[in-house]
């Protein structure tokens, strides 16, 4: 029989023998993104194996800027994602609050609908959404079109509802007895207490909007109102573009999110996990 410490050692070695190579494989595409973004065009398309970064990031980015006016699209993306996140957090927390803390006629129906949309593919609504916004309203290429239609979000509501319903009810009764109005209870008591949940929700919403591709691709075709992913996507498949440039765009889109992920990993993970555990 093996001793306990031998068994533990064997297990530890086995565990890392599986995980370390897998982890390297998983990091490889992100690493290559950085490598490509810093290599000159002729190095990317040479027959040599290039696995280390070089110093051409600025040049590549200048090429990308020349191809698309990328900085403007990054600006559009930042504005859209920020406004979207703020508005959506408000909408979903208000709805989540109502569903968590009041008994009212029609509550079951509202909840069932919200849950039901979770299993409904977005494609069912995207065509008429497009017809309505672009053709009927004539609002293609506007901030409204980028921000408002994607606002409906059932995960956010369920997430906030969960958070609010775990708070002790006596807290809100105490405020009621003190004559605090319902909307003040929501704003001044419930929302501050839900701060960790809101942080997680903000991250998830911002990320979703930042990376959103299909809807902005459909609704905007004017270069000055394109979001960054759409602009970048429009270059892929064209012949006379700089791939180094495209990679700098990918890095600009990805690295801030990766950085945020490292700093706020706990909130990211909470947000993603909460989305599924309902």
């Amino acid at each position: 029989m093996r001793s306990k410490s031998q068994t533990t050692l064997l297990r530890t070695v086995g565990l890392h023998a599986v995980l370390v190579p897998l982890a390297l494989i998983w990091l490889f595409p992100i690493w290559m993104m950085i490598v490509f973004s810093t290599q000159p065009e002729n190095a990317i398309f040479s027959s040599n194996l290039v696995l280390l970064p070089s110093d051409q990031f600025a040049n590549n980015f200048a090429l990308l800027q020349a191809d698309t006016g990328f900085l403007r699209t990054v600006f559009v993306s930042i504005v859209v994602a920020t406004v979207y996140t703020v508005v959506s957090v408000f909408l979903t927390s208000m709805a989540g609050w109502a569903l968590a803390r009041y008994n009212f006629a029609g509550k079951g129906v509202v909840l069932a609908i919200i849950l039901g949309t979770l299993t409904l593919p977005y494609f069912v609504v995207v065509i008429p959404q497009f017809i309505m916004v672009a053709r009927d309203f004539g609002l293609g290429n506007t901030w409204f079109a980028l921000i408002v239609p994607p606002l409906f979000n059932s995960l956010g509501v369920l997430f906030m509802r969960q958070s609010f319903s775990m708070m002790p009810g006596e807290l809100f009764d105490a405020a009621r007895v003190e004559g605090v109005k319902e909307w003040q209870i929501f704003l001044r008591v419930a929302l501050p207490m839900a701060r960790p949940t809101i942080a997680a929700l903000c991250i998830i919403l911002f990320l979703a909007s930042w990376n959103n591709y299909l809807w902005p691709l459909l609704i905007n075709n004017r270069p000055d109102m394109m979001t960054a992913p759409v602009a970048l996507g429009s270059l892929i498949g064209l012949t006379r573009v700089s791939w180094g440039g495209i990679m700098t765009g990918a890095v600009v889109l990805t690295l801030p999110m990766l950085f945020a992920f490292v700093v706020l990993q706990r909130h990211f993970v909470a947000g993603i996990a909460a989305g599924a555990i309902k």
Binding site: L171, R176, E178, V180
Partner: protein, 361 residues
């Protein structure tokens, strides 16, 4: 003047009625305690007075005004909750002033009230802290302080001490009694702990299954319970009950025989008329048994367990039928280790209840 009056107050959740027509008058400045086992409706009743639960029937008035449709905040009440319900993201000072600020009270008025409440409760050094940094007792003080700053006509307490450990509970109990003396405000207090009820109340309301069983001063309930439930609920350890039968009646008195205690006979003065053979229950408190030389019916029991607390002992005597008697004895070393004990039941201390549980007088 702010008394509270409940007339025929009812509460239904859907088809289930949980409060069945409660009538009650709380005088101005009175300390009233609602007591009863869990699920008796005492908290629901309190929350109805606060306005946190709708009233399904009847009328509640505070200070002479019907408040059925008045918002909680406009009823002139303040409430202290079981879980303290302190806002975790605010400091003690912000907790105390939150309601006043939200209602647009002038700043100097708020400051005056907060300072006063803090000094009454001796929590001035804690004002800048958050609830997380406070002990249980300190949180309780802050919760009470938050009620005080409202300068209410009526204080409502919902089991405020049940989250504290035994020692703190006694300490805070004394504190609340002192507070009532100082403020002289009407207070309604809910608890399941009869000791709290006995020590704090001017008037106790015993509730069971949404009905008032008895209302009265603590000692009146102790000396003169209206029924078996109240008799068993008030007093610690609880009253002993023994099944018995009527064996003889004369006008103005009745003689009963206990079923399981060596057929002990007892003659008691009652006005009610009885027939021989009627089943009754005999009740006697542990502290009212007499010694072997006492007056009344003599009874010999087998000692099961004896707990010696120093000044007194509690003797648990198991009967062959499974009935258990608790007997309080003055501590005496000579009785230690005895397996048999002779006691007496003084007729003046014995209570009789009919088969429905009502008191026979």
């Amino acid at each position: 003047m702010s008394g509270v009056t409940l007339s025929n107050v009812q509460k239904r959740f859907g088809a289930v009625e949980v409060i069945h027509g409660v009538d009650l008058t709380v005088d101005d400045g009175e300390f009233v305690v609602f007591v009863g086992p869990s699920g008796c409706g005492k908290s629901t009743l309190l929350r109805m007075i606060a306005g946190l639960e709708d009233i399904s029937g009847g009328e509640i008035s505070i200070g002479g005004t019907t408040v059925n449709d008045v918002e909680p905040a406009d009823r002139g009440i303040a409430m202290v909750f079981q879980s303290y319900a302190l806002y975790p993201h605010m400091t003690v000072e912000q907790n105390l002033s939150f309601g006043l600020r939200m209602n647009g009270k002038p700043r100097d008025d708020i400051a005056r009230r907060v300072t006063k409440a803090a000094s009454i409760l001796q929590i001035e050094p804690l004002l800048a802290r958050r609830p997380k940094q406070l002990s249980g007792g300190q949180r309780q003080r802050v919760a009470i302080g938050r009620a005080i700053v409202r300068e209410p006509d009526v204080f409502l307490f919902d089991e405020p001490l049940s989250n504290l450990d035994a020692e703190l509970r006694v300490q805070m109990r004394v504190e609340i009694a002192r507070l009532h003396k100082e403020l002289g405000t009407t207070m309604i207090y809910v608890t399941h702990d009869q000791t709290e009820a006995m020590t704090l109340a001017d008037k106790i309301v015993v509730l069971r299954d949404g009905r008032v069983e008895q209302v009265g001063a603590p000692l009146d309930l102790y000396d003169d319970p209206a029924n078996r439930f109240v008799a068993g609920f008030v007093g610690s350890p609880r009253m002993n009950f023994m099944a018995a039968k009527v064996v003889d009646t004369t006008p103005g008195s009745v003689t009963i025989e206990t079923d399981n205690h060596g057929s002990a006979r007892l003659t008691l003065p009652v006005r009610q008329a009885f027939q021989t053979g009627d089943a009754v229950t005999l009740g006697i408190r542990p502290e009212h048994f007499g010694g072997p030389d006492g007056d009344g019916t003599r009874l010999t029991v087998n000692v099961d367990v004896a707990e010696h607390l120093g000044a007194t002992s509690f003797v648990y005597a198991n009967m062959a039928t499974g009935e258990q008697l608790i007997i309080e004895r003055e501590q005496s070393r000579s009785e230690m280790g005895k397996t048999e004990l002779t006691i007496t039941i003084p007729p003046a201390r014995a209570y009789l209840f009919d088969s429905a549980g009502d008191r026979i007088r």
